[in-house]
């Protein structure tokens, strides 16, 4: 027992203590950095994201420039490092540019769902009562649809388009995030420290801001990151069906669709966009897994 007794200690100086990087998230990041799988996944994601952002500088050719005489070149053709597509456009450039739309369409819905779902779930969980009933019963209804069906039904009725696909996917993920947020918040709400805060005379908004959000957003965030992989697959899937982006925009799912005709002539080239979706999706999954186990260690 190291209890400091301060009978003869000098009067304390009023200086707010520095947080010496011993905070919760610092610990999570430190543990994450020690997980080789998660680090590899993070590096891959970073590379894909950077390539997408700096596509004009990285891509060797114009992703829109087609050439009737250079269609469906195999991988390794000089000038077409990863071959060319059915319209003679450079595959490597299109894959690099394609990351832009694919990532936005995959990540943005999860981000929106994280914001909306956290709001709804925390409100339902902290307020309880009739507000909880209304929100959670509505969530149950949306849960009654398999997510792929709901995404396709919504973007099918809203009509093809990138924005509609993002809206549809957001609607798919909001109920899932809300459920997690609600259950985490309900647990936190009954903790002694929340009661202690109430005893201090704090109002519900102050308590939620100071004591609830800090403890629930982490778990909700980790859950949300596990949705990115599904979201990437679904978003590209919508484009694959013709419900997302439209030609000639480079997007991995759409490229996969238009290259379907080439599976007999250039199978390797035709499969390439899928490899990109696969690699991105699995990297997000592994990173999310790593993040979860880094957070599971008792804080």
């Amino acid at each position: 027992m190291a209890v400091t007794t301060v009978d003869s200690a000098p009067a304390p100086a009023v200086v707010p203590a520095k947080k010496l990087g011993r905070g919760y998230w610092a610990g999570v990041l430190r543990r994450l950095a020690r997980d080789p799988v998660a680090v590899t996944a993070a590096v891959i994601i970073l590379l894909i994201v950077l390539a997408a952002i700096f596509a004009p500088y990285v891509a060797p050719a114009d992703p829109y420039k087609s050439s009737m005489i250079r269609r469906l070149r195999p991988i390794g053709t000089p000038g077409f490092l990863l071959g060319s597509d059915e319209l003679g456009r450079d595959m490597l450039s299109r894959l690099i540019y394609g990351g832009r739309l694919s990532l936005v369409m995959g990540v943005l819905p999860v981000f929106c769902a994280f914001a909306v779902g956290s709001f709804l779930g925390v409100a339902a969980g902290y307020a309880g009562g009739w507000l909880n009933t209304i929100i959670m019963r509505t969530v149950d209804v949306f849960y009654a649809f398999p997510s792929v069906l709901l995404a396709i039904a919504l973007s099918g009725t809203l009509g093809a388009g990138i924005l509609n696909a993002i809206v549809a996917l957001t609607v798919v993920f909001v109920p899932q995030v809300t459920r997690v947020a609600e259950s985490v918040t309900t647990q936190i709400r009954n903790r002694d420290y929340v009661e202690a805060a109430r005893v201090s005379g704090a109002g519900p908004f102050t308590i939620v801001r100071v004591h609830v959000l800090g403890n629930v957003l982490g778990p909700i965030f980790v859950y949300s990151t596990s949705l990115i992989s599904v979201s990437m697959i679904l978003a590209s899937g919508l484009s694959f069906l013709g419900l997302g982006s439209k030609p000639p925009e480079p997007e991995w799912g759409l490229m996969l669709n238009t290259l379907r005709t080439a599976i007999y002539t250039q199978p390797m080239v035709a499969a390439l966009p899928g490899v990109m979706i696969f690699v991105t999706s699995i990297s997000f999954n592994l990173l999310s897994d790593g993040l979860r186990s880094a957070m599971e260690v008792k804080a």
Partner: protein
């Protein structure tokens, strides 16, 4: 048990009604009037009004919903705009093909998923666990429509062993359980099985790991029970949850088959849905979604009740 079933049924009813509301509203969030899809582009204003009245679109939304719901209760989902046939018959025929495909896929996925999960859970943190876990991560991360394409490339385009598309040699016909049709289901079913395999493997791994780390297993070993006896205990304890996950996966596959059915031109509900979307055949779209969602709701209910019946630890009288 009966009381529990009834209570679940009462709980599910408002959810099911909510599902019908969402399906009903789907048609009304479409840009423009639902009629524009039916009417010829040069229709007169008078004809438009007539059609509106005929379809009841001039009434307020809740009334429209009531009328529609009443018809749905009597099995009338309207008529397909493209074919003119009743939506209910079209959808049920397609759902049968999807159900066959999804069931086969779930069985394949369950078999391999439990295998991987058991190996991983039993030899936790060994290289076998790492391998099995990695395979299951692959399963949940792979874009299955792409996997379908890859399998077609390998087994149809390159090797020529299996047909790339369709449900049978007779073109657009339904799938039948005979030798000629069997070859057609292999590729789509294997493609589809990858998702439940990954999910079930993850679940079983966690279950087995949990059970093995519990005190009662130590006690059984200490009492001198054989490894086989311990294994049996693990199986009986893991089975209810694993089966429940399998049931839910079947539901997800039923609703999520559209991408795979599109890749393989499988004449199921997903294929139908795809056609309905691109022909803007709204009654067909609405009917397909409604039936698939209702199927999912009922399947969830069945899984919930069965799991309770199977699991001695859950007593919800």
């Amino acid at each position: 048990m009966l009381a529990f079933t009834l209570r679940r049924l009462i709980y599910v009813t408002p959810v099911a009604i909510g599902v019908t509301v969402v399906c009903f509203l789907l048609v009304h969030i479409t840009p423009g009037d639902p009629l524009t899809a039916i009417l010829p582009a040069d229709a007169t204003l008078e004809l438009q009004e007539q059609m509106k009245a005929a379809y009841g679109f001039d009434k307020p939304l809740p009334v429209q919903y009531g009328l529609w719901f009443w018809k749905v209760l009597h099995g009338d989902l309207g008529h397909s705009i493209a074919t003119g046939r009743p939506v209910a018959t079209e959808v049920l025929r397609a759902v049968k093909n999807t159900l066959i495909l999804a069931t086969v896929a779930t069985l394949i996925g369950f078999t391999f998923g439990t295998l991987f999960g058991f190996v991983a859970g039993y030899f936790r943190d060994s290289w076998l666990d790492k391998l099995a876990s990695f395979v299951s991560v692959l399963g949940v991360s792979v874009p299955h429509y792409w996997l379908g394409m890859v399998l077609v490339i390998i087994f149809s385009a390159q090797l020529g062993w299996l047909p790339p598309t369709g449900a049978g040699p007779d073109g657009s016909g339904d799938w039948r359980p005979d030798a000629a049709h069997l070859r057609y289901i292999i590729l789509p079913a294997v493609t589809m099985s990858v998702i439940p395999m990954g999910v079930i493997a993850r679940t079983v791994r966690a279950l087995v790991g949990d059970i093995l780390s519990q005190d009662f297993v130590e006690a059984l070993r200490a009492k001198g029970m054989s490894e086989f006896g311990v294994f049996r205990h693990v199986v009986t304890n893991a089975a209810p949850t694993a089966l429940a996950v399998m049931g839910l996966q079947l539901g997800y596959l039923l609703g999520g088959s559209i991408l795979i059915e599109t890749v393989f031109s499988w004449p199921g509900s997903g294929f139908l849905l795809n056609a309905a979307i691109f022909q803007r055949d709204l009654p067909l779209l609405q009917g397909t979604i409604l039936i698939l969602a209702m199927f999912f709701v009922m399947l969830n209910l069945a899984v919930d009740v069965l799991q309770t019946a199977l699991d001695p630890r859950i007593k919800r009288g």
